[in-house]
């Protein structure tokens, strides 16, 4: 008989806990959002109509309203907001990786007694409130802020640079804020890298930069992917940073959703935006898993 570590029923019970958690706090709320996205807006509290309505004498009818989704696809505002979010998320992720990789690499290669203090420095900003940190950036970037005053004081520029309320300010804010999410998973992969592999590569004729390109970089891909996901996904829905640092021309889904929910009180449209965002985020990962599985099966 095959030995089993736990009886099937015990195992199911243990697995059921996280499943139950996910169902209760992620799937169920999403179903609510999905339901609202298929309803019609109305001037009431809550500002949407039920899908199932009683007409008369116990007759009920199911009214599904696809016009929200139709509007999303027809009105260029929403698609350009999606495009705006994708662009900001992609470019920010790229910059987070470009800045975060060398940082993580340097920490992983520094002497043992330096690593913990350096990691603490990466995490330190989290001890201050997120909002306060963004307001600090306003203080730095605004027309008569720290940066402009410094540059003008040094005589490098004559008039203040217009950074606040531009896409650049959004990028600065996003990259600054999400950098630790790239550094930490990258550090975790790089610290586990077997340095003998680099010696083996050197022994076989690789100069240091090629050792990095052929060994370190491919083997740190799990960290790169994890870090990229930790930045890309939340930035897609990011609302606060573009709202505070960006200008009126910064069009992003998160900001738009906020406007629809709270300013326009159009919950169904906002919900359909949320559903669209989820599809846009999930699709790449489903495809990625699919190709990963295919390539694994490809190996004998």
């Amino acid at each position: 008989m095959k030995p089993t570590s736990a009886r099937p029923s015990t195992r199911h019970l243990i697995i059921a806990v996280p499943w139950f958690w996910l169902a209760l706090f992620f799937l169920l709320p999403f179903l609510f959002v999905l339901k609202i996205s298929l309803s019609e807006p109305t001037l009431a509290q809550p500002p949407y109509m039920d899908l199932i309505r009683e007409i008369e004498d116990g007759f009920v009818t199911l009214v599904i309203n696809f016009s929200n989704y139709q509007l999303l696809l027809e009105d260029s505002l929403y698609l350009s907001a999606l495009w705006g979010s994708l662009k900001v998320a992609a470019i920010s992720t790229l910059f987070c990786l470009l800045i975060g990789y060398p940082m993580a690499y340097a920490i992983a290669r520094s002497p043992l007694h330096w690593r913990l203090p350096l990691l603490m420095l990466i995490i330190l900003p989290f001890w201050t409130s997120f909002l306060i940190r963004i307001y600090a950036w306003i203080g730095i970037l605004k027309a008569n802020g720290l940066l402009n005053n410094l540059l003008m004081g040094l005589g490098l520029i004559d008039s203040p640079l217009a950074i606040m309320h531009t896409p650049l300010a959004v990028y600065i804010g996003v990259v600054y804020n999400y950098l630790p999410f790239v550094v930490l998973p990258l550090y975790a992969t790089l610290i586990r890298l077997d340095l003998t592999l680099l010696e083996a590569a050197a022994d076989l004729g690789c100069r240091p930069w090629k050792q990095f390109l052929l060994i370190t970089l491919p083997l740190s891909m799990p960290g790169v992917i994890a870090g990229a996901m930790l930045v890309f996904i939340p930035v897609m829905g990011e609302f606060v940073i573009p709202d505070l640092l960006g200008g009126p021309d910064t069009l992003m889904l998160g900001k738009l959703m906020w406007t629809e929910f709270f300013s326009n009180k159009d919950w169904p449209l906002a919900s359909s935006l949320a559903a669209l965002l989820l599809v846009v985020l999930i699709l790449p990962f489903v495809l990625l898993r699919h190709f990963e599985r295919r390539s694994e099966e490809g190996n004998p």
Binding site: D194, T196, D203, N299, P300
Partner: protein
Amino acid sequence: MSTARQFKPEEPWQAPEGEPIVRLENVTKRFGAFYAVDDISLNIHAGEFFSLLGPSGCGKTTLLRMLAGFETPTSGRLLIDGQDVTDIPPYERPVNMMFQSYALFPHMNVADNIAFGLKQEGMPKSERQDRVAELMSLVQIEPLAKRKPHQLSGGQRQRVALARSLAKHPKILLLDEPLGALDKKLREQTQFELVNIQERLGITFVVVTHDQEEAMTMSSRIALMHEGRIEQVDPPRRLYEFPSTRYAASFIGSVNLFDGYVTEQNDDQVRVQCDDAGIQLEVRHSQPLVPGMAVTVALRPEKVRVIHQLEADTPNQLRGVIKEIAYLGDVSIYHVELASGKRVQFTQSNVQALAEQPLTWDEEVVLSWSANSCGVLTE
């Protein structure tokens, strides 16, 4: 001790005019105040299967890593094939290394691992494929070309690592505990294979090992290391039969040591007064010794003959009582206590022990050996 290597008439280290392929000149490697390698000079000749043998921490791995270029000597020079490589980085040295952990690239399959070094050289693809196929057939892993390292057994990984390190036709192959991770059975089998491959390819092998049996089986010569220094460099047979220091004698195999001092020397016959033995021992030793000099007589347990009473005109006879017997299958080890309380070990094959009257506990015996069967150690 068996040896896989046929005795070869050519012994390159004997020829004074031959230029060694590896030459270490007063090489020292210090880590802080610790001397990992302490002023070592050594020549290794082309075609040798050279072992660096010693316990962990003796500096053998540091020495190997200096040959590979992963460590730079604190002082001294290192020449490979006449070229001073002391400051040459590993990727420009004509040597390759097989790592103890094998260090296979986990994201590449077997064929890509083996082709890695060739690709760095810029060898064209078709040529590379031929070379990889040739290497895989050499180490008999043809069907594994597309496997990833994590899909291989320990023995298969070892073969891939060997093939990869041989790919670039290195002038010297450095092997760090090449059989250390294999189980005993596979290790014994692989020892012979390594020797065969080395003889077929004619590449100089420099092997680090802590396993004396492995070193004895495979090597043309062994450098026995101890605390950063070389105790003795000799072919396995000489190292076993004629150890030059107490350390060498006790590291390789078992040995009985009798401390004493020289009383007289006639030609190559030395008499040594040993208080533990209670008599003067006669030893053959051709180097001149000064009477009164403190020396140690070394005697291998298998060289001892057991007789039942003292014989006249025979040197080196000790009376004692058998205190312990260890049965090892092919041989038994006997511990004999002398009158002085010193214990002497001897071994006897069990075939012989059964043929005669079996020896037993508390039996009184006389141990005897010829002057040729033991040696004098001055260090």
